[in-house]
């Protein structure tokens, strides 16, 4: 073989070896987004599943807005695990829910629900089988243990005083596997519209604290009383036709698992739209954790607090009645 023929043969080999097929418009793969916070106070467990697209992988936007949701008929399983064996298993089913008002990129909305009593300090496993991509999304968590509110206490004989001269303090015992606590009040009130009276309740979580380390027998945190009035003003509608009468408050402490604590803590310090800095979902993003609520019911408010609700600078337009059951200048 001549020298020229050998060179031509080698060049041909090299050119053949370099030949590849390039997809200019490659569709990006979706990432499942899972939120499931096991509620230990009820048997109904809910899960939110949607999907996200990494725009750096996809040159073409999703062709349908509903593609942010997966197929309704997915296999989503919640398993209770003891040791290495599964002792209980239930399947989630899709349930349509009413969307809040506002802009949403999809027309339908559903969550998945199942019926299972979630026990404290127990390991649960979440498995989602995505048949279209033959992908298994997977997570485990250990639920939080019970705890008790030890202050405020004795609603039979103590009043809640919501003034900045002496802010209320909350104390509660430690919950194992918990990393985040929220606490505040449920305010109960009668709402009068003409001759009709409706009993209503509004939840006011006024402080959030992260406690991942053991700090003794119990935790103590105070709340800023001004926040009570500010938050209440944000939550209720000011309408001159509505008269309200406060009937009492319940003290509430909500605790969440360590996974939830990591997520919230990173969200608080992160960018507004960068919400996926923490995830405990394998083959997806999101959080699988648990939560538990404790409350002490039936506190009355001090007269100063009731008057502040009626005439204070934040809530005066909500038309709460004062300690005498009237409103100075009309109403009541």
């Amino acid at each position: 073989m001549s020298r020229q023929a050998i060179i031509l043969f080698l060049v041909g080999l090299v050119m053949l070896g370099c030949e590849t097929e390039v997809d200019v418009f490659k569709l990006g793969e979706s990432t499942p987004v899972v939120y499931c916070i096991l509620n230990q106070d009820t048997t109904v467990q809910s899960l939110r599943l949607s999907r996200s697209y990494n725009s750096s992988l996809a040159a073409v936007a999703p062709d349908s807005p509903d593609s942010l949701l997966f197929d309704r008929a997915l296999d989503i399983v919640l398993e209770k695990v003891q040791g290495s064996s599964v002792v209980k298993r239930t399947f989630f089913i899709p349930v349509d829910v009413k969307k809040d008002e506002g802009f949403f990129p999809y027309t339908e909305h559903w969550i998945y629900q199942t019926d299972m009593q979630v026990l404290p300090n127990t390991t649960y496993r979440l498995i989602i089988y995505l048949s279209e991509s033959e992908k298994i999304v997977y997570s485990t968590c250990t639920t939080v243990t019970p705890f008790d509110i030890i202050n405020p206490a004795y609603p039979e004989v103590r009043l809640i005083h919501l003034q900045t001269d002496h802010n209320p303090q909350f104390s509660w015992t430690k919950s194992n596997n918990a990393g985040i606590y929220q606490f505040g009040f449920s305010l109960h009130y009668d709402e009068y519209i003409e001759d009709r009276v409706t009993l209503k309740t509004v939840n006011l979580f006024l402080n959030t604290t992260f406690m991942l380390e053991s700090a003794g027998h119990y935790y103590t945190q105070s709340i800023n009383s001004a926040q009570f009035y500010i938050r209440l003003h944000d939550l209720l509608t000011a309408d001159p036709a509505i008269i309200r009468k406060c009937t009492g408050v319940d003290a509430i402490v909500l605790c969440g698992g360590e996974e939830l604590a990591y997520l919230v803590r990173l969200q608080q310090g992160g960018q507004t739209f960068n919400i996926m800095e923490y995830s405990n979902i394998l083959n997806g993003v999101g959080v699988f954790s648990s939560r538990l609520i404790r409350q002490v019911n039936g506190f009355k408010l001090t007269n100063q607090t009731i008057d502040s609700l009626a005439y204070g600078k934040y809530t005066h337009d909500l038309n709460f009645l004062d300690r005498n059951g009237i409103r100075e200048g009309g109403g009541g």
Binding site: I150, P152, A153, V157, D165, H166, S171
Partner: protein, 132 residues
């Protein structure tokens, strides 16, 4: 000229003419004691400060504390002058222990006490409520 004309009067850097309200401190050493009832069965239920005895009676308090089982000392920051306080405790024993221990009624029977005190500027006034 242009720069000078834009220059505004500078804001005062010292709070001249602004004086903080003089205050004194009331410390309430809210101890629980009883000759024979268990002390963890008696709870603090109220602590209020008012300008005079009639306002105590009517419940028009200047300040109130959120009393707890974990705190023995309570502090109030008040302008100099004379005031009244009201403190209350309750018995949470079951059965007839509370009435036998001098509390009116049975469980959650309560006792009240009140008194007069004076606040002086930058001074701490300590009171120890006692219950008959």
């Amino acid at each position: 000229m242009g720069l000078q004309s834009c220059e505004t009067d500078s804001l005062p850097t010292t709070p001249e003419g602004i004086e903080a309200e003089p205050v004194g401190t009331l410390r309430v050493w809210f101890k629980i004691s009883h000759p024979w009832l268990p002390l963890d069965r008696i709870v603090r239920t109220g602590l209020h400060v008012a300008k005079d005895g009639m306002e105590i009676y009517k419940g028009y308090y200047l300040q109130s504390a959120n009393v707890t089982d974990f705190q023995e000392n309570y502090f109030f920051y008040l302008a100099p002058g004379n005031y009244y306080y009201e403190a209350s405790i309750a018995c949470i024993c079951g059965g007839d222990s509370c009435s036998a221990g001098g509390f009116p009624g049975n469980q959650f029977g309560s006792k009240h006490t009140m008194g007069r005190f004076t606040i002086e500027k930058d001074q701490v006034t300590t009171i120890i409520p006692t219950f008959q």
